[in-house]
Symmetry: C2
């Protein structure tokens, strides 16, 4: 295990970084599957669950939803259509700017979202392998990673 010097122009990623990326990819895949499953168990798709989760803090304009999820506004139209037709959200025009449609979760929607969130906390297998102290360390590391990047606050 000789430490190889970073060569000239290419920022050669060290072994640790490479492995962390791989592990992360696996964890992301696992997380993603479980999220989809948990959503499906409540007859929601992943995308619908994500939108519903965004509305936990209050109503939000279509455009902002699209920006937060990094997709086209026209895509959100369809997702909200389906959520609305099932009574999970409502659409109403903003008083200040009538171009804006504020999407708000109904009680049913909030309940479904909260329930899903709770189920995630419990079903999350991977975390079971870590003790309290380790979770704290993990939390701090994740915090650093997220605030350093595109941290949307809170």
């Amino acid at each position: 295990m000789d430490t190889q010097p970073a060569q000239d122009a290419t920022p050669q990623p060290d072994e640790i970084t490479r492995e962390v990326v791989d592990l992360m990819a696996n964890l992301v895949a696992l997380f993603h599957r479980e999220y989809e499953e948990a959503a499906a168990a409540r007859s929601l798709t992943g995308a619908q669950a994500k939108v519903l989760a965004l509305l936990r803090r209050g109503p939000m304009p279509m455009r902002q939803i699209a920006q937060t999820l990094s997709c086209e506004p026209s895509n959100i139209t369809g997702i909200v259509d389906r959520l609305e037709s099932r009574g999970f959200v409502t659409r109403e025009a903003d008083r200040q700017d009538r171009r804006v449609k504020l999407v708000a979760a109904t009680d049913t929607g909030s309940a479904a979202s909260a329930e899903l969130r709770e189920s995630l906390n419990f079903a999350r297998e991977p975390l079971a392998a870590l003790g309290p102290d380790e979770r704290t360390v993990l939390r701090d590391l994740l915090r650093r990673m997220l605030t350093g990047a595109a941290g949307p606050g809170a």
Copy 2:
């Protein structure tokens, strides 16, 4: 900081766990977006890139691909169709069992996959916030989480 005793039947998730789950969800979203972007930059979809990544270790039957990605075999048919039509993979019958179709990456396919993997290592913004020691700690934690769960080995 009083340690609250686990109450009776409900495994009340502590604050730390809850926050870790939330952070994880954000990180997963970020990772996912970047993966899709990196794949799109090589005119691959996320699903296609995932399949191609699976073939890094050698040819694999359709069914096994489906199982690994937790989806229906019929879904893989389409994805492999598109990869094949672009020369990224080949399909050939297994000698032992001619029902089985072995999907193998072509040179072009392997190159694209490797390139994407490399680009991930470098583009991974969140990791930039962590120093070498912290990455090591993170790696160990992630390892524990994955081997404890449904670790498919390495």
